[in-house]
Subunit: 454 residues, 2 copies
């Protein structure tokens, strides 16, 4: 194994790091549908969007024409603290599976946020600081995004208020403390600090909370607080733009060793990691330069791509955000509390949804017990303990590698290992104790949740 | 900042990774004192030591003459999953301090064990497997070593039984679950599964446990279990040998950019990370090639170097292990429960102790509130959330950088960032809430603890 030409970890040098983000929308003939103002049902304007997001980010959100957007130098400097991230050859996993496939994973977990979320957090905090804001708000589910934003705000000296989905707040006090260590204020959601939180609590006093609900609270707080804006860790086109650094680095690392990917796999909740990873490869497909297969993997308990509808829907439970056209289960859909980890958002990024609708990627759903089995198998041979979210991609990478074992094909399989599972040990414990169960919504449940689509 | 010639992270290539460990004892004229058989008070023999440790490791323990010991290829392959580790230039910390000093840290936390411990764990598991053992035992305090050994055993298909200091077992259920995910059996210590555990529980029913006590239980279990041996994560010369990869990589990374270190700083509990980091640099000093200052940093609550005696003592509370000559507080010394994190061992590696006695390094003790303040300051500017242990080194690195600010000297300060604090959020919470206190033992307490030295 030591004589292999390809190293275990392909590191780019800092000089090789991308200097611009890639906006895949610029290369799409059929663009993603625009965000709509929920009141007028007309496309949102820059001015409207700038009430919620800071202006530079609102501009990025609406820009579907500029292919490359330069990364400001302070963000590049921050990136250098943890980037370029390694593209790792999973030699040990290949050996354990006995597959002729070559498996690579882009590992985004080598930073304190434990995930890729920091790539967009630092950008959003930077533009907020540039605009002279005093504070920003956000929501967090599994906690990775809240941690990332806390780190970014601490770096630029911005106040940060995080609404953390209640069940996660209670299961993960460590996450909360990391955020507090970076100076953030953390509120379990739903809370009685907002109108929408109070309304949800009145209607559902025992709710565990949801991402859609926490978004509503964070948006309301941003609007009501002077010199404050809201930020979001996934779903939006601006976030996919920032996350394109994952795909650009992956593309460059593969080129360095003349490797052509046959299959690219990413887990998908709101779509930020997946969208960022696949953007440059989708562009190659759009240009007819590649026919690689792209697979989005989602939890069977929250199957927006595989079982949702492609329609306009609210991004949040409180229905205060713009409408987005996306594959959605309906903004009232809340995954079963038995579902561990993230990827529990009711909809899917408009960009990813449109690419999916155009047939540029396929989607699979997997159940969580098989996901944790894949996670443990991976951890034991590759060393790294993966986040439950990332393990959705691992599961399908293993499936594809085993298919190669049957056919004898030495395919190049690339997947995104978005983060580490250090703060998910409660879920691992349930798995280790044999107490984890699967939950797959019935057609009737999904029907009911989608009944209120706007 | 972006125009600096030295990158944020100096990565060696996999080809540049050391192929042999460095045994600093080979270059010492006055060797560390030998381990003694506690019954005969004669130097332990290879055969005696091989009853407790596997034979190859016992040989390494006794070998004070061979300067370089080749790293077996399977260990080199495993190392490549997370090594070479980056030597990071702390540009942001320098800027925040306003110091002319150049600060570098060797970051060993980029692996699931969260620390440098994996460097020795994989070696110890490998030699155990080579010898045909079925299982190994160990103890763990903060949990880093237990996690590392669990990962290593899982990789080689060995059973692993970890005795975890009780207060840590209770404060860090996440650590326990990581170990279980890698297939280890974890028992809180003291336990009623061993004679020594039962005796300690009978004498001190409410004890929180200690590292010395957990060692005794792990040794007893190893001796009584067929085809099983004991392993230790620090203190021993073999562990320092394996950890020398930290220092060798650091030396090579510095040479790559023609940087001469003026000050090298490491935290010190049992001495493994410190010994590994400084070994090649001590050798340069012994050869008269360098006059760099080396500083060991220990907690004021467990001050073996700064306030201990240089004498033969037991390595464990149960007094079943060989005697080692070391700076020690007495094997009955148990740090205050208010002390967070690791570095709570009563003695110091014989190698480090002898180097200290010869004046090749100096020692400082720091209190934990100032350590956590340094940790938080570091986290907020450098991104990475450090382990409490590692933060002892951060504290002194900041002190030295601030001295440079006064004198205007652009010294090169290098410190070991041994690990991350993901599993120490309970301690961070106490600090964040202003509830953390300092504990410094009185002379009388130390006097009493040292009264029973053998």
């Amino acid at each position: 194994m030591s004589t292999q030409e390809i190293p275990y970890k392909i590191f780019l040098t800092e000089d090789e790091m991308p200097k611009a983000w890639f906006n895949v929308r610029a290369e799409m003939k059929q663009k993603p549908a625009p965000l709509l103002n929920p009141a007028t049902r007309q496309p949102v304007t820059l001015d409207e969007l700038s009430q919620v997001f800071c202006r530079e980010l609102a501009m990025q959100e609406l820009d579907d024409a500029t292919p490359f957007i330069p990364i400001p130098q302070p963000i590049l400097d921050f990136y250098k603290m943890y980037r370029p991230s390694p593209l790792t050859r999973a030699y040990f996993l290949e050996k354990a599976l006995g597959t002729p496939a070559h498996i690579y994973y882009k590992f985004e977990g080598n930073n304190t946020s434990g995930s890729h979320k920091l790539n967009s957090a630092i950008a959003q905090a930077y533009y907020a600081k540039q605009q002279g804001l005093a504070s920003i708000t956000t929501e967090t589910g599994a906690g990775q995004w809240g941690t990332a934003l806390s780190m970014a705000c601490s770096f630029f000296g911005l106040k940060c208020h995080v609404f953390m989905v209640k069940c996660s707040y209670e299961q993960k006090p460590q996450r909360r403390e990391v955020m507090r260590t970076y100076g953030a204020q953390v509120t379990p959601s739903p809370s009685n600090t907002t109108d929408v939180g109070r309304a949800i609590l009145a209607a559902h006093p025992d709710t565990n909370g949801s991402l859609g609900c926490a978004i509503s609270e964070a948006v309301e707080t941003a609007i009501k607080t002077p010199n404050c804006r809201y930020t979001l860790g996934s779903v939006l086109a601006q976030v996919l733009l920032h996350q394109s650094i994952i795909g650009l680095e992956t593309q460059q690392a593969l080129k360095k060793y003349n490797i052509k990917p046959d299959i690219i796999i990413g887990c998908a909740g709101g779509g930020s990691n997946l969208g960022g990873l696949i953007s440059p490869f989708v562009a190659e497909k759009l240009r007819g330069e590649s026919d690689c297969k792209i697979i989005a993997v989602e939890p069977a308990s929250c199957p927006s791509l595989t079982r949702g509808r492609y329609a306009y829907d609210f991004c949040d439970t409180g229905r205060v955000c713009p409408l987005a056209k996306m594959y959605t289960l309906g903004c009232d859909y809340i995954p079963s509390p038995s579902h561990a980890g993230g990827l529990r958002y009711h909809g899917m990024s408009s960009v990813v949804s449109e690419l999916y609708d155009q047939g540029l990627l396929e989607a699979r759903s997997v159940t969580q017990v098989e996901v944790f089995a894949a996670a443990r198998q991976f951890a034991r041979v590759e060393g790294t303990l993966p986040a439950p979210e990332s393990s959705h991609a691992i599961k399908v990478a293993i499936d594809e590698a085993l298919k190669c074992k049957e056919t004898g094909e030495a395919k190049n399989i690339v997947f995104g290992l978005t983060g580490t599972g250090y703060f998910d040990m409660y879920a691992y414990q349930r798995f280790n104790d044999g107490e984890m169960t699967d939950y797959i919504p019935t057609d009737e449940e999904l029907e009911a949740a989608a009944a209120n689509l706007p």
